[in-house]
């Protein structure tokens, strides 16, 4: 296809979407000149380009629509009829564009019907205007008055009846003058339009998505290379590369952030079609519906945007169709006749929350229950809460619409919506009050491009499992409660009195290799509303992976959702939880659904983000845990390989001697059999913490409730309903290598280090706080420099401060300067977060005493910088 034509098509269909929205807005605010000017400009541009490209049908139609709109601009009353005709013309233009795209030519046929209609309305307008010459422009508001509004006539009367200053009548204009002023006015409007257009042109640039994807790939590659370089330099003590590498590292992280930004789009793009849909729907159904949108500027990855577009449209249609009542019904219920649909979006902790709320009739719980019973999902005697019953609308094939309208209720229901949202690791929830309305809440990740994943091994091949679908890990032990049993040939696991269906990853993928079950791991996964266990040979670690789509030749394999390049450069496949669940076949029973619903609910209510914890036993029966993210690997070594040297236990591990440290005095390093170890590798040094048994990996919130005075233990927390000791990894590192942290004796002060995190963006505060918590810090946040100073004033000191540079009022530099003057805080290390760093900035940073500069998106860099920071005991002074 001709490049020019292609460009025209993309540009025009975007413009038309805007016209749709603007027209609907205009219908409601007929006196808003700005909206009209915008619509007029877009239609005018389309007309002009059509003429240039030789598209007569489009040109004629656009011209007629433009003429009518010109009349609006001249003061023609805006009627619903006129807007409907213009919208119909826009639809026709879209049809013509669609066939232009497929056939590269305008389709046969004519648009006389619409052109005539448009011309009739324009002519009528002209006639009407002629009649009203010399009097006030007759303004008609084509809708009933809202409460509190007065009609224009009344307003006019009030004006006339109110005594005012005497005014001399304006000097009569001769015909010449009138024409000139009219010409001036038009010229002014044109100038304004041109300026606006020029401004818009200068600020945006059209880029092929492919180009961006390629940039993203290159940046990911660059990040991997940078990580390798950092690793090499970390190993050497003093290196002249250190400083330039830190700069390179910053620039790389900024670049990565920038490229990620280019993939972000405001959610408003997915909403742009909704006002039109709601308007047409309301007209069709004879309802009055107002749509409100909040947070349209909230940004998310374009890939995510694509996935949620259709579910959102479906939900809005549903709400308009089933949720909002007919005007008479609303009046009878004492509600305003006009129903309201409210869309809102906001960021929250690495996720986007989208809410779709209506003030309609709410869900009829009794009817849903009856239907669920009829479908055999529950029995009539089951005791379920209203919320549980309401969730059945997400069950497959569930539609309770009493009457099937053309709009919805065609069988594709909320289950499809839920499936789509599940697929991208999101969740959907609803709240409904009978007679008051329904609110759907969708929670989706900001981006699909980078996700945390668990790396597992089956039949000597590694695979990645998206962390969002991993509930827990269970170690299989032949003689324990965690052993695999079989019902006929189906492998199952008894897990907390429930039978969990299992699938062996190796045999599912038809990979050779025995199904050695003892010592294997079961990854318990949740997908949609089912839970299953995937048996794998080994579990490595969690890693943030850059998801790449499967090649088209491999896209039919339901088991994989994509692939990724790991830090070591190898490519591995990403398992698709839905595909794995699909391989099991069968349906789940209702009790399972009910249980899942409850689980889902519990999860929504949790405000704190759960983190993965590794649970193990050592010395005594009390379970112990450590955040999984701190552990590099879990290993089992042959006890005979453990060597003794000058009173320390060592083992050869990956070409170096790794010291072994028992987690407490109760643990004896084994002399025979297999010895489980938690391995930590950092900057080329490694250490193995000796434990008795690795029990499980669980997702839970880490809330240390009781502090501890014992060295090496941070305190106790409730993990999976059991009191669990949380291990302070930092305590063990210097036991293995004295200079690991170059830190001072801390055994008297075995507490979490207190970190003050200052950033004016709630988004970053939400994103980084869990990361810092997982790294073992007690995090306090402040939204600006002033708040930070107040906190420092009140609290008895922080061990380290991480601060943004660019903040309103007191910025990062000023904060650092102020702190330096405070005798108590003068020595506290400050790490600066910045999205741009220049040498001048680094210099200023050094002067005010920043220990390090870290780019905002560089989580690993931040943790590394924190690890490199020696901690003074602020109270000890």
């Amino acid at each position: 296809m001709d490049d020019l034509l292609r460009e025209f098509l993309t540009e025009t269909s975007e413009s038309l979407d805007v016209v749709d929205v603007e027209l609907v807005r205009f219908e409601r605010e007929p006196n808003n000149a700005e909206i009209l000017a915008n619509v007029f400009r877009l239609v005018h541009t389309i007309k002009g380009t059509c003429g240039f490209l030789g598209l007569p049908r489009l040109e004629a139609l656009a011209h007629a629509a433009e003429t009518l709109m010109g009349r609006f601009r001249d003061g023609l009353p805006v009627t619903s009829e006129a807007v409907t005709v213009v919208l119909a013309s826009i639809d026709r233009i879209k049809e013509i564009l669609a066939s232009l795209e497929s056939d590269e030519a305008e389709p046969e046929g004519g648009d006389e019907d619409l052109v005539k209609e448009l011309e009739r309305l324009s002519a009528a307008a002209a006639a009407e205007q002629n009649q009203t010459v010399g009097t006030l422009v007759h303004q008609v508001l084509e809708r009933p008055l809202r409460p509190g509004e007065v009609s224009l006539d009344e307003l006019e009367r009030a004006f006339r009846e109110t005594p005012g200053p005497e005014m001399s009548p304006p000097p009569p204009l001769d015909a010449e003058g009138e024409r000139r002023s009219e010409a001036d006015r038009r010229a002014a409007i044109r100038r304004e339009e041109e300026q606006r257009e020029a401004a818009a042109k200068a600020q945006t640039l059209r880029v092929q998505v492919e180009t961006l994807e390629r940039l993203m790939t290159m940046v990911s590659e660059l990040v991997l290379t940078r990580n390798q370089l950092l690793e090499i330099v970390r190993r050497s003590q003093e290196s002249e590369f250190k400083a330039p590498l830190q700069r390179l590292s910053n620039v790389t992280a900024e670049l990565q952030e920038g490229v990620i930004k280019t993939r972000m789009q405001p959610i408003g793009n997915a909403w742009s079609k909704l006002p039109r849909i709601v308007r047409d729907l309301a007209n069709e159904l004879g309802k009055e519906i107002e749509i409100e949108m909040h947070g349209a500027e909230t940004e998310l990855d374009r890939q995510v945007l694509e996935v949620i577009k259709d579910p959102l449209t479906h939900m809005v249609r549903n709400s308009a169709d089933h949720g909002i009542e007919m005007p008479e019904e609303r009046r009878a219920a004492g509600k305003p006749e006009k129903g309201t649909l409210r869309l809102s979006a906001r960021h929250e902790g690495g996720h986007i929350i989208i809410a779709i709320a209506d003030d309609g009739r709410g869900l009829n719980t009794e009817r849903i229950r009856a239907k669920a019973v009829r479908m055999g999902l529950i029995s009539a005697n089951d005791k379920l809460t209203d919320a549980q019953i309401q969730k059945f609308i997400f069950a497959p094939g569930f539609s309770t619409a009493a009457t099937v309208t053309s709009v919805s209720g065609r069988g594709v229901g909320m289950d499809v919506v839920k499936t789509n949202i599940d697929q991208i690791g999101g969740s959907v929830d609803l709240k409904s009050v009978l007679g008051r309305g329904t609110t759907f809440t969708i929670k989706i990740p900001l981006t699909l491009a980078i996700v945390p994943a668990l790396i597992v091994e089956a039949a000597k091949e590694r695979f990645a499992i998206p962390q969002v679908s991993v509930l827990e890990l269970v170690r299989v032990r032949a003689n324990s409660e965690h052993r695999i049993e079989h019902v006929k040939d189906a492998p199952v696991l008894r897990l907390r009195n429930k039978l969990l269906p299992l699938v062996h990853l190796g045999s599912l993928l038809r990979l050779s290799g025995g199904e050695a079950e003892d010592g294997a791991f079961i990854v318990v996964m949740q997908t949609g509303n089912r839970t299953l266990g995937v048996v794998v040979d080994g579990v490595f670690h969690t890693e943030e992976i850059v998801v790449k789509p499967m090649a088209s030749k491999l896209r039919d394999i339901a088991t994989f959702s994509g692939n990724t390049i790991l830090g070591d450069g190898s490519v591995i496949l990403i398992l698709d939880p839905n595909g794995l669940a699909g391989s099991l076949g069968g349906r789940l029973d209702s009790s399972e659904i009910a249980e899942q619903e409850q689980k889902g609910k519990a999860r929504v209510e949790e405000t704190d983000r759960p983190i993965s914890l590794l649970v193990f036993r050592a010395g005594n029966d009390e379970p112990k845990a450590v955040p999984l993210s701190l552990i590099t690997r879990l290993e089992e070594i042959d006890a005979r390989d453990i060597q003794q040297s000058s009173g320390r236990s060592l083992v050869q591990y990956r070409g170096t001697l790794m010291p072994l440290v028992p987690v407490n005095d109760g643990v004896r390093i084994r002399t025979e059999g297999m010895q489980p170890l938690l391995v930590f590798i950092d900057g080329g040094r490694s250490m193995g913490i000796v434990v008795d048994e690795i029990v499980d990996i669980v997702e839970d919130r880490l809330n240390i409730e009781v502090g501890s005075a014992t060295p090496g233990i941070l305190g106790s927390a409730i993990v999976r309903g059991q009191a669990t000791e949380i291990i302070d990894v930092a305590h063990f590192l210097p036991l293995a290598h004295e200079d690991w942290f170059q830190r001072k004796e801390m055994n008297a002060e075995a507490r979490r280090r207190r970190l003050l995190f200052v950033d004016d963006s709630a988004f970053f505060r939400n994103m980084l706080t869990p990361v810092l918590k997982a790294a073992g810090y007690d995090v306090t946040t402040a939204a600006n420099g002033g708040e930070a100073l107040a906190l420092v004033e009140k609290a008895d000191g922080f061990d380290v401060i991480v601060s943004d540079i660019e903040m309103p009022d007191v910025d990062g530099f000023e904060l650092a300067e102020a702190l330096r003057k405070d005798p108590r805080m003068g020595q506290v290390p400050i790490i600066a977060l910045t999205s741009h760093s220049s040498p001048a900035m680094l210099e200023r940073g050094r002067r005010v005493g920043f220990r390090a500069f870290v780019a905002k998106f560089d989580r690993q860099g931040l943790i590394a910088a924190l690890k490199d920071t020696p901690f003074e005991i602020s109270k000890a002074a």
Binding site: E221, A551, L554, N563, S570
Partner: protein, 150 residues
Amino acid sequence: MQTNSEIEFVTVLIAGQLFGLPIARVHDVFMIDRLTRVPLAPPEIAGILNLRGRVVTTIDMRRRLDLPAREEGRGNMAVGIEHRGESYGLLIDSVGEVLKIPAANRDPNPVNLDPRWARVADGVVQLDGRLMVVLDVERVLELKTLELAA
């Protein structure tokens, strides 16, 4: 087919047979270092690999042409092809030279050619002492994806 023009071919050797790929379709030639198997994939797919940050899907040409499998560890060369925005690698035994062939020297596929070859061959070129089968890259990449044993 034009008569006076010349076409350049990259020649490759697969199980002793010489094949030619139109040079315009060849993106690069590379050694395969680490290949990740893709379970459940069509048998012709040898696996996927990381080539300078791009994930490349490799096709085992011996399997594609129904030839005996390679000996383990031998012949790890691949010809890189870009196809509809995706990267593919054709796994071959070795790469030869670039030949300029007058279009007139290309004969159509012999009628008795093995149908599996006929599907991907775009004529045969007579060289001194040997024959070169021209590969149609598009058709080489047309795998029957539904062959995934269900």
